[in-house]
């Protein structure tokens, strides 16, 4: 230990004046709002630029594209339902990443956890297809949750016991999950009688839907989990422990908490949430899984967690936004000819604006209401290694 003396503390900065609820809501929401608007503007610019590639400089193309987007998302009851159903896995996935943030962990592995959850539910669902619904549905859901949880447990345990940073291990596990799915679905889990490799029909394991629409049980579960997760994080002792470990792991140890255990528990819970997202998609929407099943839900979840500031309500709103965009993008590609990947670009730009948070705040002279979740500093601080016990 070198320098023994702590810095002479300067006199305290005065605390920020108590803001009204409205004031605080605006301050919190301002930057995400500007980020989305700004990203849409940047997206428009890109669309205009790419119209050049097709010969004509078309300034109205973005308007047409966004109009298609809106129409596809909200223009009809079917569209609205499609948006909600698309948002559902994003809510769960966003919470899977956001809960990790609260504990100072970066769960990029939501993708792999989602895939494993999908796999588990597809496998058990096919196996239990003949049983009555009361048995098959919960069994399939639980299988998805359990497998997702396991896929979260692995990086959690690695981080807690060896210090291996979750940023790298979870991404590796994403690839391994893909390989595992490829192997299992072309092998032991392959259902006979189809022209391509896929899991078997779900039969009674399919999620019931409501009002004859696409709204399936998974949607209700997801929306129901939002207040549940909020309550656990902000009102329970477990949530207090998770937040403390995220904010200051050293103080957490001093307070008698066990950061290692909490790391493992948190990532396992995150995995469970992402696994449920996967289960919902398979059991409620696609009803089977093929060997090359691919999805962007894992990465979207990261953006959603950041956009929603790791808070369940913010995440829900962000998920609805992204769900709507994905829902409408199909129509946009058909009608305006803009590749759906533009949504990825817009997403990235939203993140860019979020990161430039500080700059925006200074521009607008907004009060520094927690410019950036402090938990993120713990994510970066533990990057160099060392077990967190």
């Amino acid at each position: 230990m070198s320098a023994a003396a702590a810095p002479a503390d300067p006199a305290p900065a005065p605390p920020p004046p108590q803001q009204s609820f409205i004031g605080r809501a605006i301050a919190l929401a301002a930057v995400p709002f500007i980020a989305v608007v700004g990203a849409l503007v940047v997206g428009a610019v890109i669309i205009i630029a790419s119209s050049l590639a097709r010969g004509a400089f078309d300034l109205t193309l973005p308007l047409q594209a966004y109009a298609n987007l809106l129409e596809g998302a909200f223009g009809s009851l079917r569209g609205i339902i499609f948006s909600i159903v698309s948002a559902t896995p994003l809510i769960l996935g966003g919470m899977a990443v956001g809960l990790g943030f609260k504990a100072g962990l970066f769960n990029i592995g939501a993708q792999g956890q989602f895939l494993m959850g999908a796999l588990g539910s597809a496998a058990v669902g096919a196996w239990a297809a003949g049983e009555s619904g009361i048995v098959a549905v919960p069994a399939a859901i639980l299988a998805g949750a359990a497998l997702g949880a396991a896929w979260g447990f692995i990086p959690g345990a690695l981080k807690a016991w060896t210090g291996a940073h979750e940023v790298v291990t979870t991404i590796m596990l994403n690839f391994i999950a893909g390989a595992l799915i490829g192997y299992l679905i072309t092998g032991p889990l392959e259902a006979p009688g189809f022209s391509f490799s896929r899991t078997g029909p779900l039969g009674n394991a399919e999620l019931p839907t409501f009002f004859g629409t696409g709204i399936h049980l998974g949607v209700l579960i997801a929306f129901g989990l939002v207040p549940a997760v909020w309550w656990v994080v902000w009102r329970s002792t477990l949530g207090f422990e998770i937040r403390t470990v995220g904010a200051n792991p050293d103080a957490a140890r001093y307070a008698g908490m066990r950061p290692a255990m909490l790391t493992i528990l948190t990532l396992t819970l995150c995995g469970m949430l992402a696994g449920l997202a996967g289960a919902g998609q398979i059991l409620g929407v696609s009803h089977f899984m093929n060997a090359s099943y691919g999805t962007s839900i894992g990465f979207d979840s990261i953006s959603i967690a950041l956009l929603g500031r790791a808070h369940p309500v913010g995440i829900t709103l962000a998920a609805l936004l992204f769900g709507a965009m994905r829902a409408g993008s199909g129509l946009m590609q058909i009608e305006a000819g803009i590749p759906v990947e533009i949504i990825d670009v817009i997403q990235a730009t939203i993140l860019l604006f979020l990161a430039a948070d500080l700059v925006i705040r200074r521009l607008l002279r907004l009060r520094a209401v927690r410019a950036q979740p402090e938990e993120l500093q713990t994510v970066t601080k533990t990057y160099g290694g060392g077990a967190s016990s």
Binding site: G163, V167, V168, M172, P339, V345, A355, L376, G384
Partner: protein, 359 residues
Amino acid sequence: MEFVYSIPIIGVLFQFIGYVVEVTPGIAPIVVGLAAPIALGALCGIMNERSGIVNIGIEGMMLSAAFAGFLAAGLFQQAFGGEGWGPFGITPALVVGVIAAMLVAMVLSALHAWLSITVAADQIISGVIINVAALGLTGYLNRLLISPNPRLGAGTFGSFRLPPEVVDFPVVGWVIEMFVEQGPIAMSVVLFVVVLQILLFRSRWGLRTRAVGEHPRAADTVGINVIGLRYRNVILGGIFAGLAGAYLTLEATGSFQNNMTAGRGFIALAAVIFGRWTPVGAFGAALLFAYSGAFGQAVRIRPPGDEYPDLGAIMAAIPSQVYGALPYIVTIVILAGVVGRSIAPAAVGKPYQKEGKTA
């Protein structure tokens, strides 16, 4: 040998060693090629992290560079044509492609530097942004510009050819072949590794960089320009990421696929940690990871034959996807085993703020 192989249980281990020894010279040339992008990515990571900046956006930089390089080379070739020259078959288009790749990676590095240093945003988030943006933009532009043009492409660099006498040289012949029978980018990797290693530990730049990465305030108090040094190193590090991307589309294959980097940028990060933030160490780690990938291929092409009975049975029972996932599995195993004892530059990840100059 057969006697050794037939010892119960341990015999399998000997069979494995025997198989590895037999198969390695054959796959050695592939190994360096597979290692090249990882090693280059790791050099980029070292430039960043030794200066105190976490950069997990190397994957995105590689991907963008791969795309930009391919596109630039292809368009140039389409517009101006050109013939291959010299042992590497260099065409003007390919050169343009490499330059474009490096420039794109440097621009993304500048963005990361700005976000990390000036805006003081969380550095991991900045890396994530670059990855997501790269994936989205390259996918979008690929669909828009390249898919309609299936004939677009400038080909690849050729590999250097050694005279057969050198290759057949006993013992060392295949080692030389491994490193020298490569295209220009892969061959340059060893050079970069050696040069960077020397500079990092013996030059003034290296000393100042290490000081800035460990204790930026100490460096500041002796008059070193911490911010400037960090910006320069991060942007220069982009050159390596650019070369890694260029390698993928202009030397290894002659085409671009969505998300073709397949996690190499992250494996590069693991290589940095495993190599204790030294160029030579990271290169060794990259070779290890590449070997695991190449080994997987070897098993498929030349599975253990009758000389290795037990081994052959075991290996046949392992599904082929495992071999494909071997680099990722190896990465996790290594990270778990090594990281606990590996110490990063002390100030890595913390934005530096000059005392008294913050608002």
